[in-house]
Amino acid sequence: MEDLHGKEIVVMKGDNAEEFIRRENITDKIYTTNTFEEAFTRLAEGYYDAIIVQKITGIQLLKQMKIKTIKPLDFRLPRFRQDYCFAVQKGNEPLLSRLNEGLSIVIANDTFEEIRLKWFGPSETKQVSTGQIIKIILIILLPVSIVLILLWIIFLRREVKRRTNSLQQEIWEHKQTLNALHIHQSQLKESEARIRLLLNSTAEGIYGIDQDGNCSLINKSALQILGFENRNQVVGKNIHNLIHHTRADGSPYPAESCNIFKTFKNGEKIHNSDEVFWRTDGTSFSTEYFSYPIIEDEKVTGAVVAFWDISERKKGEMELLKLKNELEAKVALRTKELQEKVVKLDKSQKAMLFMVEDLSNITVELKKERKKLEFSNKELEAFAYSVSHDLRAPLRAINGYSNFLLEDYAKLLDDEGKRFINTIRENATKMDQLISDMLNLSRVSRASLNLSEVNMASIVKSIYNETANEKEKKQFEFCLNEIPDAVCDYSLIKQVWQNLISNALKYSSKSAEKKIEIGAEKSNNEVIYYIKDKGAGFDSKYENKLFGVFQRLHKSSEFKGTGVGLAIVQRIVVRHEGRIWAESEVDKGAVFFFSLPDK
C-alpha cells in the first residue's frame, strides 16, 4: 500500500477503484479513463505507474488484449470492496434457484476452489503451475516429511514425558515449599500473637523506636499510661516529641540530649528513674524506664523502652523522705532535750551527792539522837522504877501510919476523925492503883513481844475463873464458843482477856441479865475475837473515847476503875498488828472485838 503513495495511478472513471483511492487518499496523481481497455492500453504504452482494478476483470482483460508487459500483483487491497454475486432479472426465480443449485454442487464436489483459483488465483500460480513439480514434491517430500513427522512425534512424546516428570517433581517441590511456608506463616502468626499478648498483658508500658526516633510499636499499658486512645496516634510518630519533650522542671528536653536517644544511636543500655513522661492531657508523671537497643546484624536499628508510672512510688519516697526529715528533726529535738536532761541530771546528781552528804550527816545526827533517845529511854525506865519504888513508899507510909493512928489512938478520935483517916487511906490506895496502872501501860508499850502459839481457849477459861468470884460464877452464864489459837505474846494477851473479862463482869453487875459470850470468826488474813455482855453498855457516840488513857464513860461511883484498862488492851492489840473496836447501846450490853493476824 505504501508503495502506491505518490505514484501515478490510473483507474476507470466511476469504478470502485476510483472511489477507493480517493477515499483512502492513496495518492494525489489520479488519472481516469473511460474504459478499462483504454486504461490498460495507456499503462502498456508507458503512461502511469499502476492501475487498480478488480482482480477478475484485470486478469481477463490482460488475457484478451494479450498484454504481457503488465504484471498483475496478487494481493488484496484492504478496504477495497470486491463483492461478487449472481444478478438476475426480476421475477426470474427459476434461474436463481438453478444458479444456487449449481453453486452447491460445485461446493459439494470440491471444484469450487479449483474454479475459484482458475478465475481468481494469482496469475503467477497459473504461470508456474506445473503438475510435474507438484508430483515430484508430492512423491519425494511427502514420505520424507511423514518420516520426519513420525520421528518428530516420537521425540516430542519423549520430551513431553521427560518434561512432565520434571514438572511433576517441580510441582511436588513447590507444594513442599508451600507447606513449609504455611507452617512458618502460622508459627509466625502464633509467636506474633504471643508476643502481642505478652506485650499487652504486661503492666509496664513498652514501646519501640526506630533509628529516626519514630514509634514502631506500643503496648496497651503504654497507651493507657500515656492517655492515648489507639496505636495510630503514636505509631510512626516521633515519640520523644509526644511524651518526653519537657523535663520535670519544665525546661525543654531536646531529643539529642535524651537518654533514650543514646540507646538507638549508640546502642547504650539505659536505666533511669528521675525523669518524667507527659500524658496526652498535658500532665506529667514520674517514670522509671529501661531502654534496650535493638541490634540486627551488629547494627543498632532502634530501641525498646519499658517504663512504669512511679509517681506513687515517688510520692511514697517523698513521704518517706519527709518522715525521715521529721524523724531526724524529732531525734535532734529529743537528743537536745535528752542532753538538757542529762545536764539537769548531772546537776541533780550533784544535788543528790550533796543530799547524800547531808543525809549521812543527818544519819550521824540521827544516830546521836537515837543514842540520846536510848539514853532517855533508860532514864524513863529509871524514872518508872523510881516512880514505882519511891512514890509508893510515901503512899505506903500514909496508909500505914493512918492505920497505926486508927489502931493505937482510936479512943482519942471521934467518928468524923476516923472517917477522915479512912478517906486518907482510900485515896492513898487509889493513888497506888493509878501508879501501878500507869506503870503497866508504860511496860506494855516498852516490853518486847515474845510471840508463841497460844491456846486462847484455855487462857480465856483460866482468866474467867481467876477474875470472877464465886458469887459471879453462880450469877453469870459464861458461854465460850470455839476460838482458834493465836500466835501472840502470852502475858500480854492474858492482860487483854483479863481486862475485857473483868470489864464484862463489872459492867454487868447491875444488869438483870448476866451473860458473857466469847467467840471468834476468821476473815481475810485475820481472826476476830469478840466478847459480848448484856451489861450497861455505852453510848456509841463516845466510842472514840473508849480506848483513851484515863477516859471513863461511867462515873467512879457507878463502876470503879482508873480508865487505863482499855487503853492497855488497845496498845497490846495494836502491837500485835491487830485492830480493836466496840459496838454498844446504852443498857443493852456491849460487844468488844479485837483482831489478830491469822498466822
Partner: protein, 147 residues
C-alpha cells in the same frame, strides 16, 4: 540488940518508915522475937559474913530469914542476894525480897540468883500484915532448915 547471935530475922531496909511498918506487921503476927534492922547492903553483908563492926559475931549462927529490900544505899539488894547465894555457908538462908515495885527485870534477876520469895509491899497495911504473916509461918515455923 547487942546479942547478934540471937537474931532470927534480919531486915535490910533503908526506909525507917517501911522498917517500922515491917516490924509492926511482924509484931502483929507475934514473929518479932529477935529482929535486926540494917539500913544498907554493906552493913548487911558485914553482919552476915562477920566483917567490919560485926567481926566479933559468930559466923556459924545464921539468921533464920532475911527480908531484903532491893533499893539500898552503897550495896544494892540484888548484890547482897548474889553474895549470899554464891557462898555455900550462907546460901541456905531463906531470903525474901520485900520491894515496892513488881519490876519484871528485878523479879527475874532475883529468882535467877536464887531468891526464896518475892513480895511487893502493898500500900494497904492490912494486906501487908497478911503477907508478912504468911511468909513468917512458912519460913520461920514450917520450914525446917538444916543445921
Amino acid at each position: 540488940m547487942e546479942n547478934y547471935e540471937e537474931v532470927d530475922i534480919l531486915i535490910v531496909e533503908d526506909n525507917p518508915n517501911d522498917a517500922e511498918m515491917t516490924l509492926r506487921a511482924l509484931k502483929k503476927n507475934k514473929l518479932a522475937n529477935s529482929v535486926m534492922v540494917l539500913d544498907d547492903g554493906e552493913k548487911a553483908l558485914d553482919f552476915i559474913f562477920s566483917k567490919g563492926r560485926f567481926q566479933e559475931r559468930k559466923k556459924t549462927v545464921r539468921p533464920k530469914i532475911i527480908l531484903l529490900d532491893l533499893k539500898l544505899p552503897k550495896v544494892g539488894g540484888l548484890e547482897v542476894l548474889k553474895e549470899l547465894k554464891q557462898n555455900p555457908q550462907t546460901q541456905i538462908i531463906p531470903v525474901v525480897i520485900l520491894t515496892s515495885s513488881k519490876e519484871e527485870a528485878d523479879l527475874i534477876e532475883s529468882y535467877r540468883l536464887g531468891v526464896n520469895s518475892y513480895i511487893v509491899k502493898p500500900v494497904d497495911f492490912n494486906k501487908f500484915v497478911e503477907a508478912v504473916r504468911e511468909l513468917g509461918y512458912y519460913w520461920l515455923l514450917l520450914n525446917e532448915q538444916p543445921k
